[in-house]
């Protein structure tokens, strides 16, 4: 009885189209969402690059992290407000003999008179973007982090 039931189910072709439609829709949706996710990441990446360069230029003339932060916010697309981390600015009074690549090289900007002696700044902008598609989250991790570092000399 059981063997016969399974055999007839296997031979039954009714509903095959619906099943095929459901499977291909699932596949197509996954491809579509992954493409959207990829496009968004590229957009976030490009916007971060532009924003960090603009922020570095802004800081080199204003010498104020808070003002640069405000200018950065104005230049970013609204959808990136949530992913943006505070700007990190490190200052250098000289660059000869200093390991610039070290994370803790130089000193942190303090937005006071002590920043005036700096001749060079390293401006770091980071965006931590939560991925949306389950497949991409599973494959590449739940968060896409893009850090942009720019060196700029201080302009008077």
């Amino acid at each position: 009885m059981r063997g016969k039931g399974i055999k007839s189910l296997a031979r039954n072709t009714r509903g095959g189209v619906v099943l095929e439609f459901a499977l291909s829709t699932l596949l197509l949706l996954t491809v579509l969402l992954s493409t959207l996710e990829f496009g968004l990441e590229m957009f976030v990446r490009q916007s971060s690059e532009r924003a960090a360069s603009a922020a570095a230029m802004e800081y080199s003339t204003r010498r104020s992290v808070s003002e640069t932060q405000a200018a950065l916010r104005d230049s970013l697309p609204v959808m990136m407000y949530r992913c943006s981390e505070p700007l990190e600015v490190r200052l250098f009074d000289t660059i000869l003999g200093i390991e610039l690549a070290a994370q803790d090289a130089g000193r942190a900007a303090r937005d006071d008179a002590s920043d005036a002696s700096a001749v060079m700044a390293r401006v770091s902008y980071t965006c931590r973007w939560d991925r949306l598609t389950p497949l991409v989250r599973g494959l590449l991790g739940p968060v896409f982090e893009h850090e942009v570092v720019v060196y700029t000399r201080m302009r008077d």
């Binding site: 990446r45 660059i95 200093i98 690549a101 001749v119 060196y151």
Partner: protein
């Protein structure tokens, strides 16, 4: 034999499988193409940012010394390579050249250094001939109250440009008041 071939030609069983594999192949090609394009775009962004940062760093090095040591440019190359993710672990070389002019306005090499994590890359492509500086089909002149800073980055290409050495550069003029 002929009959067998005819029967095979008329047989449509498995055709959707063939269709699907051909479709998947085309989609894969699209996906690879998009990824290659994205990778190229990311490289261009990174190199552009590294060159802009490099010009400012070279400007400052020139401000602090007239004779930079190789170690100074190595530090700079590491900063651009590691922090700016210039090449994400790939090999690259940085060339920095600074030109000034004598009292007659003829350009001359003030200093030149290179550094990076690969030594067998070509030397700097900047040429100085008859008081004019040539680079990549462009020519530059220097007045006696200024300096010309040239930063070049050479590195291995990725993806479809794998095996090629990518050469990108930027130039900046720096005021150099005549005493």
């Amino acid at each position: 034999m002929k009959r067998m071939a005819r029967r095979f030609w008329r047989n449509t069983r498995g055709s959707s499988l063939i269709e699907m594999s051909a479709g998947v192949f085309v989609l894969m090609l699209f996906a690879i193409g998009i990824a290659q394009f994205a990778s190229l775009s990311i490289d261009i962004d990174r190199d552009g940012r590294a060159i802009r940062s490099g010009l400012d760093l070279a400007w400052q090095i020139d401000e602090e010394t007239d004779t930079p040591a190789p170690g100074d440019i190595e530090t700079m190359a590491r900063a651009l390579g590691v922090i700016s993710k210039l090449s994400q672990g790939d090999v690259y070389r940085l060339h920095v050249s600074v030109f000034d002019a004598d009292t007659t306005g003829t350009a001359r090499l003030h200093w030149q250094q290179s550094a990076g994590n690969r030594d067998d890359y070509p030397p700097s492509l900047v040429e100085l001939s008859g008081g004019t500086i040539f680079l990549d089909g462009r020519s530059f002149t220097v007045e006696d109250d200024e300096k010309l800073i040239v930063v070049e980055i050479m590195r291995d290409g990725h993806g479809m440009t794998r095996g090629e050495i990518k050469h990108r550069f930027g130039v900046a003029y720096k005021a150099d008041p005549v005493p």
